[in-house]
């Protein structure tokens, strides 16, 4: 384990990153800046910002806190690939269908 000798500083670093991102999300959600309210790829621009920030947070939790970034490469991809392939696929199919159902009502 590489972290055995690394001490605790990296944990607090990740904590501050997660806290900063969450703060940005909450502030954006509260003030809803005008320049982010335009439509882009089927939803508001601000929602794209939220989703990107969320994925950054998720990456820090999985790779640092859950230590997956420091596991063997084969283990890392065994865990990540099913999720990275199946979840976007599921979302694409289901949300497309949701939009279609809306038009057909």
């Amino acid at each position: 384990m590489a972290n055995e000798t690394k001490g605790n500083w990296w944990i607090w670093k990740v904590f501050w990153i997660l806290l900063a991102i969450t703060t940005v999300e909450v502030v954006l959600g509260m003030i809803k800046p005008e320049f982010l309210m335009g439509q882009f790829l089927g939803t508001k621009l601000i929602n794209h910002v939220f989703i990107i920030l969320t994925l950054v947070k998720a990456a820090y939790i999985v790779l640092q806190f859950m230590h997956l970034g420091h596991e063997k490469k084969s283990l890392k991809w065994t865990i990540l690939l099913p999720a990275l392939i199946l979840i976007p696929y599921l979302l694409f199919i289901v949300l497309t269908e949701g939009g279609y159902s809306y038009m057909m009502m």
């Binding site: 944990i11 904590f15 999300e25 939220f50 806190f65 859950m66 979840i87 949701g98």
Partner: protein
């Protein structure tokens, strides 16, 4: 495990091709299935929201309360809940880290704080639920109707945050069991604190799911 087995035929059995223990691998595989389950829930939520986009309630208009404060404070309470869960994730990593160093007292300290964080989160969720159910102008939120908008909104809220809350609840129970073992010195005798690491994986996963619930239920 001898070096020669691992070098000549990693997949021949008896070795550890992933360089991770059986228990840790199984925890990871469980977490993948659980991640796909939650993805299914959130995708279904997205479907209904797209389908009923004209009548779907905006979460900021529904969850606007904060304990002991008057007026509208959208996002504030749920931001606090997110902070509590992130904080409990930090205390969990610290417990795991001190487990690697075999420092029993520190593991006990940080594990206990993690349990406290989980308990506070559960209490907050109970508060959020009771406010949601209480409803508006005397109309309560149930599985078949709610005063906020489309009935499905309440169904998804109960189902998704309920399923997540049940994960947190199970996590707290498991953490308590592990803490008792740490205090009894079980892992000290065993020579390693891998059990703390495994429950840590589960606990971070619960935090991870909340990050997505927070975004897709409250922000987007």
């Amino acid at each position: 495990m001898s070096e020669t087995i691992e070098n000549t035929n990693a997949w021949g059995g008896g070795g550890r091709p992933y360089n991770a223990s059986y228990g840790k691998l199984m925890m990871w595989f469980f977490l993948i299935t659980d991640a796909l389950t939650f993805s299914g829930f959130l995708a279904a939520y997205g479907f209904s929201r797209f389908k009923f986009q004209d009548v779907w309630p905006v979460a900021e208009d529904v969850f606007t309360h904060f304990p002991f404060m008057h007026g509208d404070h959208p996002l504030l309470f749920v931001a606090l809940m997110t902070f509590i869960l992130i904080m409990s994730s930090v205390t969990m990593v610290l417990a795991v880290n001190y487990g690697h160093k075999m420092e029993k007292e520190k593991v006990i300290l940080w594990l206990s704080l993690t349990i406290v964080g989980g308990a506070i989160f559960l209490g907050s969720q109970a508060w959020e639920w009771s406010h949601f159910i209480h409803g508006l102008d005397g109309v309560h939120a149930t599985l078949v109707s709610n005063p906020y908008g489309h009935p499905l909104f309440a169904d998804y809220f109960f189902f998704i945050t309920g399923f997540h809350g049940f994960h947190v609840f199970s996590g707290v129970i498991i953490l308590i069991v592990i803490l008792i073992n740490v205090i009894k010195g079980t892992y000290e005798k065993r020579g390693h604190y891998e059990m703390v690491e495994k429950v840590g994986l589960y606990w971070h996963f619960v935090d991870l799911v909340w990050v997505f619930v927070f975004t897709f239920f409250y922000l987007v």
